[in-house]
C-alpha cells in the first residue's frame, strides 16, 4: 500500500503516544481502519525504533538503570503478582523487552558474580525459565511477550515474515517463468553483496529494466529507505545495474523517484513485466530486417 508522505506523517504522529503493546496496537487499528494491519504495525515499528534510538541512551545511563532496578525490586516485593516491570517500562516509555533486559542484566550482576555474558542474557530472555528468580522470570516473560517491537519472539516473527515474502517472490517468479539466482547461490559464487534475487535474464518492469529484486517485508519510510539505498540498493546497482525493490507493506510514494536511475519501488509483485523473447512477443526478424534494410 503506497502512502503519501502526508498520510504517513499523520500515522507517525499518532503513534508517538503509543506503547508497543497489544492494547496500543488495537487503538492504532481502530484509528486507521482503512490501512492494513501489517502496514500499520510496520509503520509503528519503524517509528518506535526511531523513538527508541533517540532515547535509548537516556535509559542506559547508569543512574537510570539503577533507579529502574530499585523501583522494580521494591514494587515486585510489594506486589509480586502484578506486572510491575511492564508497567514501569510503559511509564518511562521504554520498550518492555529492553526494560526486561536492563533489569535482568542488572539483577544478575547483583546476584551473581560480575557481568553476565551476552549469550547468557539472551538465552534467559528467550527462555525465562532459566532465570533463577521466579518473580523476575515471570516479569521478564511478561515483558518480552507483550512487546510488539522488540524481543526474541518479535525478532523471530520479523525474520519469518521476511523469509515468507522471499518465498512468495520466488514463487511468483517461477510462475512467470523467470529464471533467477537467489542469495544463497550468489553467496556461493563469491558475490560480495547480494540482493534477494538476481534475474538471470533481465526483465522490464513498467518499462524499466530490472536485473535484481530485493524483497522488503516492511514499510518503506524515508529513513529506512535511505538506509537501504546506501547500504544495499545502490550497492546492488553498482554491481548488477538497475533493479526492483518490493516493499510488501507499502512505502511512501514520493520515494519512488529513482526509476530512471535504476531503482524501482513496488508494493507488490508487479503485473507489468516484459521479458526478453516472451512467447509470441519475440523480436521478429522480419521487422527488424526491414528496418535494417532500409
Amino acid at each position: 500500500m503506497k502512502l503519501s508522505r502526508a498520510e504517513y506523517k499523520e500515522i507517525a504522529r499518532w503513534t508517538e503516544q503509543l506503547r508497543p503493546t497489544r492494547q496500543c496496537m488495537k487503538q492504532l487499528r481502530e484509528k486507521f481502519p482503512n490501512h492494513s494491519q501489517s502496514t500499520l504495525l510496520s509503520i509503528f515499528s519503524l517509528e518506535y525504533q526511531k523513538r527508541t534510538k533517540r532515547t535509548i541512551s537516556r535509559h542506559h545511563a547508569p543512574d537510570a538503570i539503577e533507579s529502574y532496578y530499585k523501583r522494580y525490586k521494591s514494587e515486585a516485593q510489594t506486589r509480586p503478582d502484578d506486572p510491575v516491570m511492564l508497567e514501569l517500562a510503559n511509564e518511562v516509555d521504554l520498550s518492555p523487552a529492553l526494560m526486561a533486559r536492563l533489569i535482568l542484566d542488572r539483577s544478575l550482576q547483583d546476584s551473581d558474580c560480575g557481568t553476565p555474558s551476552k549469550s547468557v542474557l539472551n538465552s534467559m530472555l528467550k527462555e525465562p525459565s532459566l532465570i533463577p528468580d521466579p518473580t523476575l522470570a515471570k516479569n521478564v516473560h511478561q515483558c518480552t511477550i507483550n512487546d510488539c517491537c522488540y524481543g526474541p519472539l518479535v525478532d523471530c516473527i520479523k525474520h519469518a515474515i521476511g523469509q515468507e515474502h522471499e518465498v512468495l517472490l520466488r514463487d511468483k517468479l517461477k510462475e512467470k517463468n523467470m529464471s533467477f539466482l537467489d542469495e544463497t547461490q550468489l553467496r556461493t559464487m563469491g558475490y560480495d553483496k547480494t540482493p534477494d534475487i538476481i534475474l538471470e535474464v533481465p526483465a522490464a518492469v513498467e518499462g524499466h529494466i530490472v536485473h535484481w529484486i530485493e524483497s522488503k517485508a516492511s514499510f518503506g519510510d524515508d529513513h529506512s529507505h535511505r538506509t537501504y539505498l546506501n547500504e544495499q540498493f545502490w550497492s546492488y546497482w553498482n554491481r548488477f545495474g538497475p533493479g526492483l525493490v518490493i516493499y510488501w507493506y507499502g512505502f511512501i510514494s514520493e520515494l519512488d523517484c529513482q526509476r530512471d536511475r535504476g531503482i524501482l519501488l513496488k508494493d507488490s509483485f508487479p503485473a507489468d513485466i516484459v521479458t526478453l523473447y516472451q512467447a509470441g512477443q519475440a523480436h521478429t526478424p522480419s521487422s527488424s530486417s526491414a528496418t535494417a534494410a532500409r
Binding site: H211, R239, R261
Partner: protein, 1322 residues
C-alpha cells in the same frame, strides 16, 4: 615572398612555375626568382600567403560566427614576459598574444602600434576585436595602406623604400631597454607615423597586427643580436619592430651565426626570450584577454583602415635579410593560423553588419584574374598539405563565403586602396563580392574535400544562395553530392547501464589476499559509485566544486586503498567504468547533447537517429567554436579526470598507467581483416561487403577505445609535469635534461615507426594524437616527443588527399584532420610546422613495404571521422548561422525544420518502444553475464548471419539463375522472341522471387544459431541463460543476414543472372555444364549436445508428497500465538480470553503450518514449537483460562463433563508433538520450576491436567519415563518453596500408579531421601 606573390599577380611569373614549385617535394625548398634575384623558401611563402589572405579579408569578415572561431589565431595565453612590452604596446599584441607574437611571428612581427586611432577603434565595443588574429591593420597590411605612392613598381621602388622603412624603425635601444616607456613611445611612434605617413604619403598611419598571422621562416633574424643598430626616428606601423624580420636598412651585418640558432627556436629576434616559452593556446581555447593596450591617442586622421608601413619596405628588408642568410634553411615557426578576425568591426563601428551586408553579385567582382591566381595558389597549398590544418583553411573559406562585410563599392571608391598602385595592397578581398567569388573558387577546386562534409553541411552549402549565384555548377554538384552523401551523424544509442558488473571471476574473495582487502574493496566500490552519482547530480550546478564536495571522500578512499593494497582492483574498476561511460561518441559530446531519454525511449531504437538529427537542428549549439578546439575532457570524462586529479594517488596512477599501456598496446596490435582481395569479379564484393562492415565496426570500436585510453594515459603520464604556464627557459632546459634521462612510459617513437612501417597508421596515429595532446609544455621538446611530432609532421605532409596512394581517402582525411588538430593545440610549439627543427630528427621509414596494412583498407567512414573530429561539424554551424540570418552571437540559429522527419514511420509508437525495450533488455542481459557470453553470441550471430547469406547465394540464387536459364531457353525457342526483352522480364521475375531469400535466411538463422550457441557455451549454463542467448543470437544473425539480403539480393541476382544470360546468349548452348559448380554445402553441425541443466538449487522442502503449500504462514501463526501468550501473561481483560474453539482452531493451523516446509525456516519452526509448549504451560496452569463453550454440542468430540475443555486442547498438543517434525519441541519447559510451581499453585484440577499431559506425552512416546523422572529429579534438586515442594511430593506420589513404573517410584524415594528435611516435615 611578397615579391613572389607580386610577381605572380602581375603575371610576371607564370603561376604554373609556382604551383610546380609548391607541389614538388623533392626539388628543394627554394624557388629562385630571377627577376628579383632572391630565393624563396616554401616555408616562408606559405605563411606569407595565408597571412596575406587573412589580412585581405579581415575587413570583410566582420560578420558572423564572431565567435572565437573566427579568431582562432588569437587565443593566446597571457603574456609572460615583460620584455615584450614594447610589442605589446603595439596594438597588434593586443590579446594575450603579445608574448606570443614575439615567438610566433617572425615574418612580420608585431608592429608597434602605429595608429592610435585604430587602436581606439579596436578597443571599442569588444575588446576581443583587437585580438583578432589578422587585423586589417596588421603590419604587412596589404589591405589598406600605406604604400608609398611615389614608389614606382619594380626594384626601383623597392630601393627607394628602404629609406622610408628605416624611418619607421624602432630604435633597438628603445626596444630593449625601455619597456616602461612603452606608452610614451607608442605615442611617439604613432605621432611619428601620423606625420610620417600622412606627411609623406598622405595616408593615415597603419596599424600592424601581427598576431595570428602565419609567419614564415623568412622572418627569422638572430635573436637579440639581430638588433638594429640604427634607430629610425620614428617607428612605423609595421610590425617592424621586429627587427629580425625587417632589419633596418643599411643595418649592418647581422651575424648569421647568432641569427641562425636563435632563429629556429626563437623566431623572434627582438626579444631575448625564447619564443618557446610562450604557451600557445589553440584557437578558441581561451578567451583572449587584453593584456596590454597601447596608449591610445585620438585618431589623428579619419583614415578608415590603418595603413601600415608599406609593404614594400618590409619586403625590401626582408629580401635583404634573406639574401644575407640565404644559406640558412632553418625555418621559423609560427603557426597560429588564423582565420580572419573581426578586424573589420573596428572600422565598421557599431553597425550591425547584417543590415548593411550587400548582396554579393558576381558582376561586382573586381580583380577576377588576381583572385583566380590567389585561389589557385591557395588551393595548391591546401591540396599539398602545405597548410597546417586543412579544415582550418576550409573554415576560413566558408567564413569568406558567408562574409557579411559592410563594405560597398562606395567605400572603396573613397578608400585609398582602390587606387593603390601596389598590387599587393589592392583590396582583393575587401568586398563581399570578391570574398564570395574567391571562396566559391576555392570550394570548387577543393570539391573532393568538401564532398566529405556531412550531409547537412552539404545541404546548407548547396542551398546557399551565394553559391548558387556564383557557381550554379558548384551548387549542382553539391546537390548531387548531398544525395549521395552518407556522412550522417547517427547517434549512439544511450547506454542505460552505467555500472561495472560484479564478476566472480575477478571480484570475489579468492581474488583478494585477505578478508580485509576484500571487504575494503567492497566499500570502495560503493563509495566510488556514490561519488559518481553525486557528481552526476551536482556537477553542473553553479558554484559546485569537485574537490570541495568530493575531495575528502576520494582521498579517504585512497588512504583505504593504500592500506589494503587494493589498487589493482580499483584501477580495474575505474578503467572499466571509464570505458563503459566514455567510450562511445557520446563521451566526446558535451553533456548538453544528452538526448532526452524519455523521448528517445518513446521513439524507439530505430528512430533514434532521426530524432537525434532533428534534435541537433533544433538545439543548434549557439556558438561556433571553430575548427580547432583545445583538447578537453567532455562529458563523463571530466569526472574521471577530476577524480584522478583529486585523488592524486601515485599508486593508483601507476596501476592505471600499467593497465592503460597494456590495453593500448593490445588494441594497437588488433588485427583487422581486410576485405577479400577483389579479383576483378565483383561478385565477391557482397560477402566482402558484409564482413567488411563488421570489421569496420570493430575497427571503429577499437579506435575509439584506444583514443580514450590514450588520452587518459597521456593525462596520467604528463600529470606530474602539468603547469598552467610555460616554464621559463632555464627551468625548461633543466627539465628537458632531466627528463631525457628516464624512459617514457610508452615508446612512442618505436610505436609510430613500427606502425608506419606496417602501414597501420590509421589505427595508431589517431590514438597517438590523443596521447600527445596531453603533453605538458616541456614534453614536446624532449627528444622522443620531438621526434614523434616530427615524424607525424612528415606523415602529414605525405598524406596528400588528392593523390591516390596506398591509404584510402577517408583514412587519410581522418589522419590529416587529427594531425591538423594536434598541430594547433596549445602545448605543441607554434613553430613546429614551419621549421625543420622537429622534422630533422624524424624520418619516415618507407623502405620495407609490408604486404598489407590497415591503411589501405577502407576502415574509416564518416561516422567515425565525425566522432573523432567533431570539430568538422563546425562548418554546419557556421553555415547554419548564416542561413539563420543572425550571427551566432546574437542568438540561436533558426533552422527550417521539415516536420516529416519527426514523424514516426510505419510502426506505432507502442511498437517502437516495445522494440526498444527488447533491445535494452538484451543489452541488460549481457551486463551481468561473463563477457565471454556476449562475445560468443556476437561472434556466432555474425558467422551464422554471414553463412546464411552464403547459403542463399549457393542455393536460392543458384536455383533462380537456373530457373531463369530455363525460362530463357524456353523463351528463345518460341518464335519472335527477343533475348533482350526476355532478359528484362526474366530478371524482374527472378528478382521478385529472390525476396524469398529473406524468409529462407530467417529460417536458416533460427535453425543454426541455437545449435552453435549450445555447443559454444559452457555446459553448465543455466537453461534460461542458454535460451536467451540462443534467441538473441537468432535475432542478431537474422537481422544481419536479412538486412544485407534486403539491400543486396536484387543486385546479386541481377548480376548473377546477367553473367548467366551473357553466357547463354553467347554460347547459345545452354548445356555447357559449367554451371554446376560445387555447391557451398554447409557442414551441418554435429549432433548437438544438450547441456546438462543446472540443478535448481532450492531449499529442500520436505513437504508431504501432495502438499499444496496452502497453509497459514508461520509468521501469522506466531503472531496469533504471541497474542494469546501475551494475554496469558497479562495484563488482560476477561473479554480477551480465548474460547476453546479459538485455541483448537489455532492448534489446527499450527499443525498445518508445521506440516509444510515451504515457508518455514529452522528458526521460525523452532519458535513455533516453543510457542506451543509455552501455550501448553499457560493452559495447564490455567494462567490462560479458557472460556467455556456456550453450546455443549460443540464439545461432543471433546471429553466434556468432568474432563475440562482444556484437556482436549492438551490432548491436541500432545498429538501435535508426536509428529516427526515436532521432535524438537522444548518439552522440558513443562518441567520448569516456573511451570510446575504455577501448576502447583493452582487447584487440583490443574495438577490433574498436568499429570494428564505428562501421561499423554509418555504414552505418545514423546517422553520416556526415564526422562520424566530425570526432569522431576532435577526439579527436586531445585529449591522450590517448601510448601510447594510438599504438595509436589504428595502429588507425585499419586502419579506413581499412573506411571506404573517402579523406577519412578524409586526416584521419588530418592527425592525423599535426599530431602530429609522435607521428608521429615511430612
Amino acid at each position: 615572398m611578397a615579391a613572389l606573390l607580386e610577381s605572380v599577380l602581375l603575371k610576371k611569373l607564370d603561376i604554373n612555375v609556382v604551383l610546380d614549385w609548391l607541389k614538388n617535394n623533392d626539388e628543394g625548398d627554394k624557388l629562385s626568382l630571377n627577376s628579383v634575384d632572391v630565393a624563396i623558401h616554401k616555408q616562408e611563402f606559405i605563411p606569407f600567403l595565408l597571412n596575406f589572405l587573412r589580412e585581405q579579408s579581415s575587413q570583410a569578415l566582420t560578420h558572423g560566427p564572431a565567435t572565437p572561431a573566427k579568431t582562432p589565431s588569437r587565443p593566446r595565453p597571457p603574456p609572460q614576459s615583460h620584455s615584450f612590452t614594447e610589442r605589446r604596446g603595439a596594438r597588434s599584441s593586443g590579446g594575450g598574444g603579445g608574448s606570443r607574437n614575439a615567438s610566433r611571428v617572425q615574418l612580420f612581427s608585431p608592429a608597434p602600434s602605429v595608429s592610435p586611432g585604430h587602436d581606439a577603434d579596436a578597443m571599442g565595443p569588444s575588446g576581443s576585436h583587437c585580438l583578432s588574429g589578422v587585423s586589417a591593420f596588421s603590419s604587412p597590411s596589404f589591405t589598406t595602406g600605406w604604400s608609398p605612392a611615389s614608389r614606382a613598381p619594380g626594384s626601383d621602388r623597392r630601393s627607394a623604400q628602404r629609406v622610408s622603412l628605416g624611418d619607421f624603425m624602432l630604435s633597438p635601444t628603445e626596444h630593449q631597454h625601455s619597456p616602461n616607456v612603452q606608452s610614451q613611445k607608442a605615442r611617439k611612434r604613432s605621432g611619428g607615423i601620423a606625420t610620417g605617413g600622412q606627411g609623406r604619403h598622405g595616408r593615415g598611419g597603419g596599424q600592424s597586427d601581427d598576431t595570428g598571422r602565419w609567419s614564415g621562416r623568412g622572418a627569422a633574424a638572430g635573436g637579440s643580436n639581430a638588433k638594429i643598430n640604427e634607430s629610425p626616428p620614428t617607428v612605423a606601423q609595421l610590425n617592424f619592430n621586429n627587427l629580425e624580420d625587417f632589419p633596418p636598412v643599411g643595418s649592418s651585418p647581422i651575424s648569421p651565426s647568432s641569427a641562425k640558432p636563435s632563429r629556429r627556436i626563437n623566431p623572434t629576434p627582438v626579444s631575448t626570450e625564447r619564443p618557446h616559452s610562450k604557451p600557445k593556446t589553440c584557437f578558441t581555447s581561451t578567451p583572449f584577454s587584453k593584456t596590454s593596450s597601447p596608449p591610445i591617442e585620438a585618431p589623428d586622421s579619419s583614415v578608415v583602415a590603418g595603413s601600415p608601413l608599406s609593404l614594400q619596405e618590409e619586403r625590401e628588408l626582408l629580401k635583404r635579410e634573406k639574401t644575407k642568410r640565404a644559406q640558412h634553411v632553418c625555418a621559423p615557426l609560427p603557426l597560429d593560423s588564423i582565420t580572419p578576425t573581426k578586424a573589420g568591426m573596428r572600422i565598421g563601428t557599431k553597425v550591425t553588419p547584417e543590415l548593411l551586408t550587400p548582396c554579393p553579385e558576381p558582376s561586382k567582382v573586381t580583380y577576377c584574374t588576381e583572385l583566380d591566381l590567389l585561389a589557385e595558389l591557395y588551393c595548391t597549398c591546401i591540396s599539398e598539405n602545405l597548410v597546417p590544418n586543412i579544415f582550418l583553411e576550409l573554415f576560413f573559406v566558408v567564413q569568406l563565403l558567408t562574409s557579411r562585410s559592410t563594405h560597398s563599392h562606395e567605400d572603396e571608391q573613397n578608400s585609398s586602396c582602390a587606387i593603390n598602385t601596389d598590387i599587393l595592397e589592392r583590396c582583393f578581398l575587401r568586398q563581399v563580392h570578391n570574398c564570395v567569388y574567391f571562396a566559391v573558387k576555392v570550394l570548387e577546386s577543393q570539391f573532393s574535400l568538401v564532398v566529405h562534409l556531412d550531409k547537412c553541411s552539404l545541404r546548407l552549402l548547396a542551398e546557399n544562395e551565394r553559391v548558387a549565384s556564383f557557381s550554379p555548377d558548384l551548387r549542382d554538384r553539391l546537390t548531387q553530392a548531398q544525395d549521395k552523401s552518407t556522412a550522417k551523424l547517427s547517434p549512439s544509442a544511450s547506454t542505460f547501464i552505467h555500472s561495472v558488473p560484479f564478476q566472480p571471476a575477478t571480484d570475489n574473495r579468492s581474488n583478494f589476499s585477505n578478508d580485509k582487502a576484500f571487504h575494503t574493496f567492497k566499500k570502495q566500490r560503493d563509495i566510488f559509485y556514490e561519488i559518481l552519482r553525486e557528481w552526476e547530480d551536482f556537477h553542473k550546478e553553479p558554484g559546485w566544486s569537485f574537490d570541495a564536495n568530493l575531495g575528502n571522500r576520494i582521498r579517504g578512499m585512497m588512504n583505504q586503498l593504500n592500506s589494503a593494497g587494493n589498487h589493482s582492483h580499483f584501477a580495474r574498476l575505474f578503467l572499466k567504468q571509464l570505458i563503459q561511460m566514455c567510450k562511445g561518441p557520446r563521451g566526446n559530446s558535451s553533456l548538453g547533447d544528452t538526448p532526452d531519454a524519455d523521448l528517445l525511449g518513446m521513439l524507439g531504437a530505430d528512430s533514434l537517429g532521426r530524432l537525434k538529427r532533428l534534435e541537433e537542428r533544433l538545439i543548434q549549439p549557439q556558438t561556433v567554436i571553430g575548427p580547432c578546439p583545445p583538447p578537453s575532457f567532455a562529458g563523463h570524462q571530466e569526472f574521471f579526470r577530476d577524480f584522478l586529479q583529486t585523488a592524486s594517488c601515485c599508486q593508483l596512477n601507476q596501476h592505471l598507467q600499467d593497465s592503460l599501456c597494456q590495453q593500448l598496446l593490445q588494441l594497437d596490435e588488433v588485427s583487422i581483416l581486410s576485405p577479400p582481395v577483389s579479383n576483378g569479379v565483383e561478385e565477391e564484393e557482397e560477402d566482402g561487403d558484409m564482413e567488411h562492415q563488421d570489421e569496420k565496426q570493430r575497427f571503429s570500436s577499437v579506435l575509439l577505445l584506444a583514443r580514450l585510453l590514450a588520452k587518459f594515459l597521456g593525462f596520467i603520464a604528463f600529470l606530474p609535469y602539468q603547469s598552467s604556464e610555460k616554464p621559463s627557459r632555464e627551468i625548461q632546459e633543466t627539465a628537458i635534461t632531466l627528463r631525457s634521462k628516464s624512459a617514457p612510459m610508452l615508446d612512442v617513437c618505436a610505436l609510430l615507426n613500427n606502425s608506419i612501417r606496417r602501414k597501420r597508421t590509421i589505427l595508431t596515429v589517431p590514438w597517438l594524437v590523443e596521447f600527445l595532446s596531453m603533453l605538458d609544455f616541456v614534453g614536446p621538446l624532449i627528444l622522443c616527443f620531438r621526434t614523434v611530432l616530427g615524424t607525424l609532421l612528415l606523415l602529414y605532409r605525405r598524406m596528400l588527399l588528392g593523390k591516390c596512394g596506398e591509404v584510402c581517402y577517408l583514412n587519410k582525411l581522418l589522419l590529416v584532420s587529427v594531425l591538423g588538430w594536434l598541430f594547433q593545440i596549445p602545448v605543441i610549439p607554434e613553430d613546429i610546422f614551419f621549421t625543420s627543427e622537429f622534422t630533422e630528427v624524424a624520418q619516415i621509414d618507407t623502405s620495407s613495404p609490408s604486404a598489407t596494412g590497415l591503411d589501405g583498407i577502407p576502415l574509416v567512414d564518416h561516422q567515425l571521422l565525425y566522432t573523432c573530429c567533431p570539430f568538422i561539424g563546425e562548418f554546419r554551424k557556421l553555415l547554419a548561422a548564416f542561413v539563420s540570418g543572425s550571427t551566432a552571437k546574437s542568438g540561436g540559429i533558426i533552422r527550417k525544420i521539415t516536420p516529416t522527419s519527426a514523424e514516426p514511420r510505419n510502426t506505432t509508437t507502442a511498437n517502437r518502444s516495445k522494440q526498444k525495450l527488447q533491445l535494452d533488455l538484451e543489452q541488460a542481459f549481457f551486463h551481468n553475464q561473463p563477457p565471454s557470453l556476449r562475445r560468443t553470441v556476437e561472434f556466432v550471430a555474425e558467422r551464422v548471419g554471414s553463412n546464411a547469406v552464403k547459403h542463399m547465394k549457393a542455393t536460392l540464387v543458384r536455383e533462380l539463375v537456373e530457373r531463369g536459364e530455363k525460362m530463357l531457353k524456353d523463351g528463345l525457342d518460341s518464335p519472335n522472341s527477343s533475348a533482350t526483352k526476355l532478359n528484362d522480364s526474366i530478371c524482374a521475375q527472378l528478382c521478385e522471387a529472390g525476396l524469398e531469400a529473406l524468409e529462407r535466411a530467417t529460417r536458416f538463422c533460427s535453425e543454426k544459431s541455437p545449435e552453435a550457441i549450445r555447443i559454444l557455451l559452457p555446459e553448465e549454463t543455466s537453461p534460461a541463460v542458454l535460451a536467451t542467448s540462443e534467441s538473441i543470437t537468432k535475432r542478431l544473425a537474422t537481422e544481419k543476414a536479412c538486412s544485407w539480403l534486403a539491400a543486396n539480393i536484387t543486385a546479386l541476382i541481377r548480376r548473377e543472372w546477367k553473367s548467366k544470360y551473357d553466357r547463354v546468349v553467347k554460347s547459345l548452348s545452354p548445356d555447357s555444364g559449367e554451371v554446376d559448380s560445387a555447391v557451398d554445402e554447409l557442414v551441418t553441425q554435429g549432433k548437438v549436445l544438450t547441456p546438462k541443466r543446472k540443478q535448481t538449487n532450492e531449499r529442500v522442502a520436505t513437504c508431504p508428497p501432495h502438499c499444496t503449500h496452502s497453509v497459514p504462514q508461520p509468521s501469522d501463526v506466531m503472531i496469533e500465538i504471541k497474542e494469546w501468550l501475551s494475554i496469558a501473561v497479562g495484563p488482560r481483560t476477561d473479554a480477551e480470553l480465548p474460547t476453546v474453539l479459538q485455541l483448537s482452531a489455532l492448534l489446527n493451523r499450527v499443525g498445518e503450518t508445521l506440516g509444510c516446509k515451504k515457508f518455514s525456516t529452522a528458526v521460525s519452526e523452532q519458535m513455533l514449537l516453543n510457542s506451543t509448549v509455552l501455550l501448553a504451560c499457560k493452559l495447564v496452569s490455567s494462567e490462560l483460562p479458557v472460556l467455556p463453550v456456550p453450546s455443549s454440542d460443540l464439545m461432543a468430540g471433546l471429553d466434556s463433563g468432568s474432563a475440562p475443555p482444556v484437556r482436549a486442547l492438551l490432548e491436541r498438543l500432545g498429538e501435535l508433538w508426536e509428529r516427526d517434525e515436532c521432535s524438537s519441541a522444548p518439552i522440558h519447559l513443562l518441567f520448569s520450576p516456573l511451570t510446575v510451581s504455577a501448576v502447583l499453585q493452582a487447584s487440583d484440577t490443574q495438577w490433574n491436567n498436568y499429570l494428564f499431559l505428562v501421561r499423554k506425552l509418555v504414552d505418545g512416546g514423546i517422553l520416556s519415563e526415564e526422562e520424566v523422572i530425570a526432569h522431576w529429579k532435577k526439579l527436586t534438586n531445585l529449591e522450590l518453596p517448601g510448601e510447594l515442594l510438599e504438595k509436589f511430593q504428595l502429588e507425585s506420589r499419586r502419579v506413581k500408579p499412573l506411571s506404573q513404573l517402579s523406577e519412578l517410584q524409586s526416584h521419588m524415594d530418592m527425592l525423599q531421601v535426599s530431602h530429609q528435611a522435607v521428608e521429615g516435615a511430612t
